[in-house]
Amino acid sequence: MTPFAALRPAPAYAALLVRELGAPRQYVGPAVAIAAGVAAAWLATFVQPGSGGMATILTRFDISISSVVALLAVLRTIDRIVVDAEADWMLQHVAAGMSRMTYVAALVICVTIGALMLYAAGALAFGVATQLLTGDTQPLATAAARLPLYLLMVLGASAFGAAIGVITRGRSAIHIALLLIAAPWIGMWAAVVLRENNPLGGPIRLLSYPPPRLFSAYTLAHVSYALLYAGVMLGIALSLAHTRIGRRS
């Protein structure tokens, strides 16, 4: 098959994007995210008035929120692969000589865009609402500046989901993915417990994230790591696609 032939179904794969974003129920997520962003901005005016307070809230919580969005992207990618891999249309599609790799790549891109839109809706709604309520422009500027970083984060998550989806079979893929995600945290907290019980004592420093600044050395290191991680995971997913996609057991 020529590269051009592999791209023949590309317009229909764009419908995958429509499925992620365009179906009526898919608007529920972004709508809730926007409502949550506006509500958070409104509540923040009571909790800690002033521009410094807003920026602090955004900085502290956006990493956690984007991590949840990335986790949803992992689960979404795995769920689609589990459903589509042995579907009759996929069997017919693959037997007809269509590319499994095109499917995997399209799925990763579509889930990434869908998840990023979800995050962006909430973050930008928070920023805009804050600006309207208090005149503080920093949260909006920060959210806008960080979107490229979160794009990489969600892309890595989708690629991770695709890799796990093609390596393992069925619903066990979700359990394995969650275990792999949780394992470092379990290990870290185990280490903390050990340190707390250390008779020698000493200060405990957990997740001392410095406030990220775009183009700082810290940010660039994370971008490089995210790119490398996403690339490796996507490579694994694409190279193993033939073992799971369009195969019936």
Partner: protein, 225 residues
């Protein structure tokens, strides 16, 4: 129709090794009782069964109970397979595809889904077309349409393998018949050899008797391989 070694599903041997030859352009009827291994053989020949070798060419394959993505309409599904729906519809008017153009996969009936699946398999013009029990869910109009499409295939059209539970369907559309039982080929030859000559009803009855005798082991004729 060559199977090297065994085809296993869930650890169980469902088809054993064998080879059947049929003339170019033949429409081959694959017939056998439930669980004889017809669908597994189809999946194997299409190269989509786990551990099945990849075919050297694209295969037009219509599964037994096809499903399509619920969010795509028939036109979108056609594009997914690299075809324009208008071309598909014009090429196979007997399948009445224009009736389902704007239906999404999630709301198509079983027969409508099967119709689209068959059209996509035929349109590929591949050396091998595999249709797994294509007639069962079709309404009488589309059934006649598909019979005419298969009957009109020339010797250059490659081989079409049509699995079925019905001797009448095989007699109507197939020039060659392969009988499977217990995962083995037990007969392969021209339909006329089993059906004989005479009135259509008599031919059908002879064909049914012949198949029954083969399946009960009273008159097994070895296939090559």
């Amino acid at each position: 129709m060559i199977v090297h070694g065994e085809i296993r599903r869930a650890g169980r041997v469902v088809v054993t090794a064998g080879a059947v030859d049929a003339p170019a352009g033949a429409v081959v009827g694959l017939i056998g009782i439930n669980g004889a291994g017809k669908s597994s053989l189809m999946l194997h020949l299409a190269g989509v069964l786990r551990n099945a070798p990849a075919p050297a060419y694209p295969v037009g394959f219509a599964p037994q109970r096809p499903t399509f993505p619920a969010w795509l309409d028939a036109a979108g599904i056609s594009r997914l397979f690299g075809f324009e729906f208008s071309t598909l519809s014009a090429r196979y008017p007997g399948l009445l595809l224009n009736e389902i153009e704007h239906l999404r996969g999630g709301v198509m009936s079983v027969g409508q889904t099967q119709t689209l699946s068959i059209a996509l398999a035929l349109a590929l013009d591949s050396p091998v077309i595999l249709l797994d029990e294509p007639f069962a869910p079709l309404d009488f109009r589309r059934r006649i349409g598909l019979q005419r499409i298969l009957a009109a295939r020339g010797p250059d059209a490659g081989m079409a393998i049509v699995s079925s539970q019905s001797a009448a369907e095989v007699m109507d559309v197939c020039s060659w018949i392969v009988v499977m039982n217990g995962g083995r080929y037990v007969y392969a030859g021209p339909v006329a050899d089993l059906a004989g000559s005479g009135a259509a009803d008599e031919q059908r009855q002879r064909l049914e008797r012949g198949i029954l005798e083969l399946l009960t082991g009273c008159r097994a004729q070895p296939a090559s391989g």
